[in-house]
Symmetry: C2
Subunit: 152 residues, 2 copies
């Protein structure tokens, strides 16, 4: 897949991803570094928690989804620079053994008014598990370069 | 600090945190795992990028902010279970050498209508660097247990 510019992107375009297999070890390692709570650290303790078993930190799910985005089909020229994220939700917990996949849909494409070399797209990212259950959704604004500045 | 229940929390309450010192190594390690882009991986290549130098992934900043939250002053009984995040923004990049700190403010406190043992708070989390510049903001809904169910 070649690198894409603002001119290449259209509302409704969809992009897929590879997959990530989630393990107990990866859930616990992330939790130790960033979200040290019992239900993310200890399978036994997690059984007594609201999650009824080990579950990934939502921020771990977000980070894994970013990996799927960067290694996925939507390759932006100059890289993916997120300007902001809205409506980040985790409708189902991520468990050891889950295999995650991301789908990205373009919701909006617009040129910058102040900077002629770039624009902004709005995307919706949906992360699902191997059973097709949605484990994370959000929308994001992402900066995208233009292939050619507009004629003046 | 003792663990707090819904009854202990009030709109306008503020909670501080410890600090995290950000290093090139931690920025690069996170990027390798979750956001493998040149401006998060390679200081030299990053100089030519829009960031003009190595910068942390926004999701790394989010993860470090979660660590500051979990180890900070607002200790919730039963743990911190985020239901969703809105308006996540990164107004300034996080750089090697930055020292991050989090402040949490309670925006809303309400009891659940359907589940008498719990409620939901809405919080605003602001992450700043050693110069007081804001590097991340968001609001979140967090589940909180009640100390005692309401009298019927």
């Amino acid at each position: 897949v070649s690198e894409l510019y603002l001119e290449d992107l259209h509302v409704g375009d969809r992009f897929g991803s590879d997959t990530i297999a989630v393990t107990s070890e990866s859930i616990i390692a992330f939790a130790r570094d960033f979200d040290p709570q019992q239900f993310h650290l200890d399978a036994k303790a997690a059984e007594q928690s609201i999650f009824k078993g080990l579950a990934a930190s939502g921020w771990h799910t977000a980070a894994m989804s970013m990996k799927l985005f960067i290694t996925g089909e939507l390759k932006l020229a100059g890289g993916s620079v997120g300007l902001g994220v809205d409506e980040l939700r985790w409708p189902q917990p991520v468990r050891p053994g889950d295999v995650l996949r991301l789908e990205t849909e373009i919701l909006d494409v617009r040129a910058s008014r102040s900077k002629p070399d770039r624009g902004i797209i709005r995307i919706r990212n949906v992360t699902t598990n191997q059973g097709g259950e949605v484990v994370q959704t959000f929308t994001a604004f992402v900066m995208v370069l233009r292939r050619s500045p507009p004629a003046e």
